[in-house]
Amino acid sequence: MKIVVCVKQVPDTKGGVKFNPDGTLDRGAMLTIMNPDDKAGLEAALRIKDECGAEVTVVTMGLPKAEEVLREAIAMGADKGILVTDRVLGGADTWATSTTLAGAIRNIDYDLIITGRQAIDGDTAQVGPQISEHLDIPVISYAQNIKVEGDSVIVERQYEDRHHVVKAKMPCLVTALAELNEPRYMTPGGIFDAYDAEITVWGRANLVDVDDANLGLKGSPTKIAKASDKVRKGAGEKVTLDPTEAVEYLVGKFKEKHVI
């Protein structure tokens, strides 16, 4: 069985977020991690590998620096890493990104594609389902459990108050939730192997069946008007009152703000 896992290197929210003048993220200047939903997707693939045997190929699109996230995936147990990087791909929105990734995946043999539900930097949850559309395969999103049975995949699809159990014939695409599992740590030996491993690097020329008009910033229908860091609110007001006074005080404040 062959599994492709799409991962994204995202800013570590513990570090600061930095922007380019055009409003896109300055990825080169930030501390980074593997996107948590993607990491859970990778762990799901590795568990399938542990149980049934599978070849796990990890694909990422990003700056050359994004190869780090592929080495991390290999150190966790993935077999291969493919970095899709090219100047013409920069500034891509979800449409251009999914077009690019689908163009890359068309080169690869796969039974199952796993992506994260969404990335913590964009929070769109669009790229996974869009890839499935480009490749014309079924998608099951929001997976809280993934099982492989014969030539099918059985997924618990999460809703707010319930889940559906959905079965699909492979090849298909599943988007994973961070809650799916607790990803394993890399191993020290895995890290050493990962740095000896060769990362495949693909550019625009390697993408199959894609139109230049759908790539990079130019091919992105979404334009970012403005992006900014969160503005910190001032300190709150602290009052010490007995319960009766406190109620009066709160009601007064609510009226003042037209809450009631």
């Binding site: 740590y185 890399m186 191993t187 030996g189």
Partner: protein
Amino acid sequence: MDFALSKKHEMARSLFKEFAENEAKPLAQEVDETEQFPEGTAAKMAKAGFLGIPIPKEYGGQGCDPLTYAMCVEELSKVCGTTGVIVSAHTSLCCDPIQTYGTEEQKQKYLVPLAKGEKLGAFGLTEPGAGTDAQGQQTKAVFDEATNEWVLNGSKCFITNGKYADVYIVIAVTGKVEKRGKTMKEISAFIVEKGTPGFTFGTKEKKMGIRGSATYELIFTDCRIPKENLLGQKGKGFNIAMHTLDGGRIGIAAQALGLAAGALETTIEYVKERKQFGRSIAQFQNTQFQLADMATKVEAARLLVYKAAMAKATQKSYSVEAAMAKLYAAEVAMEVTTKAVQLHGGYGYIREYDVERMMRDAKITEIYEGTSEVQRMVISANILK
């Protein structure tokens, strides 16, 4: 000469840091308070491959190097000295001598499960009357030709990972030899499994620091072990023990370095927040100068520890490098943790604050696996020879 770590070492460090922050740090205070061996953390470390870092892959290890191993002990010890020494004693004092002196059969039987983390290891040299003076050994091993077994009698004390370890390297007297006209004890090394009849555990020591680390007395009463469990040649036990301790000192030096670095990091955070006389104490020159000295010494200790680890990877003998690293790192650990407590003021004396524990943990690094005085003996003997 390049002082920058390679990318793989950098990534290994980030792994150890992440593990330490997520798994060891949240338990550090509780482990100290309850004096409970952190079995759950040990199991997680086994799964993550931390118990066989410098052991070759063909023997179940990770196939990394002594530097990676030292960084692991350092990062763990930054947040929990107890967790750091579990890895150090297991790797340096049990896996290493089997890897260096064991037969192929011994490696398959003992090193593979140890390096995979399926079993935990320990080392028994010290006795009530034989610490620094290893010739004072009383534990005896007598060969019984009728059964082809060694019969062990005696006891070992202050044994790290005691009771929780499955495999023990035990040093014992196997006879007498004439050396330069003097009668000396002939000393040999053995591999002893937990559960062997006649092998029991005595007192669990109540310690000042590294309180979660299990420190036990090992008792051997007509304990019979198979002939093939002699480690290395008969009569070479003293050399095996000394060589093992050379490696162990790198582990303890890394533990000391971690304690010092951890105390420094904690203190840097604290002095920025703590306000006195209307400003943070980080703005006072005394604080700044203290921190500058602490940081410089931590960095100097790190260079010595990494140099010793690299020497183990590339040199046949690394006694002096290991002794210098341990001597310096241990003294820096004591000094830096003491200053960290001082900079925390009254809070530093309260158990709720990590530096209080770190200062207690640091003291042992000047004592075990060769006291600072022994390290000075090793170093001076080398430069005066």
